[in-house]
Amino acid sequence: MESGFGSDFGSDFGSGSGGGGKLDPGLIMEQVKVQIAVANAQELLQRMTDKCFRKCIGKPGGALDNSEQKCIAMCMDRYMDSWNTVSRAYNSRLQRERANM
């Protein structure tokens, strides 16, 4: 497993299956969930970086000045707010669709 999380969780959950070659589905499911969470965090970060770079950096200078850094910090928070708003709105819509079926 290339993720650092894999080895950390392996030692915590491995003892549950009693050692030996048997694959514990519970262990696999937990590791998969972690991998999925990591992937989602990476996706979020990548899109956030893209958007905030576009919003906050004009002509790239020799360093990030104070206003740029402040902008990026605010942008990150607003992006998270937006993500949460979209998530809630989408969830509501799905529930409404299910209720209509």
Binding site: I36, N40, E43, L44, K55, S87, A89
Partner: protein
């Protein structure tokens, strides 16, 4: 009202899909029903997550000017509307595609489930 092209096909958590519509889960989980169920659930959750990522990105372009100290109510309303209209667009496209394919009898076979 029931629409065949409902949010299940736009990547939602799958109110329209049951176990029989997800043959890949059966193949991946093998004989273990617990693992199979897990894969179904996680796949649906991921479809939801992916769409949230996509819509956030799209709606950010439409609804966000300069990032401020908080998300003002106008921007928040814009995001909510944006999500709704995106789903509407997706359903519209699926429904219209279904209709136009039905009128061309040569293609209707390839699109029916």
């Amino acid at each position: 009202r029931s629409r065949r092209g409902g949010t299940g096909n736009t990547g939602g958590t799958g109110g329209t899909r049951n176990g029989m519509d997800a043959p890949s889960a059966a193949g991946l989980g093998g004989a273990d029903p617990q693992l199979q169920r897990f894969i179904e659930v996680e796949t649906q959750k991921q479809r939801f997550q992916q769409l949230v990522h996509q819509m956030t990105e799209l709606c950010w372009e439409k609804c966000m000017d300069k990032p401020g100290p908080k998300l003002d109510s106008r921007a928040e309303t814009c995001f909510v509307n944006c999500v709704e209209r995106f789903i509407d667009t997706s359903q519209f496209i699926l429904n219209r595609l279904e209709q136009t394919q039905k009128s061309k009898s040569a293609f209707s076979e390839s699109l029916s489930d």
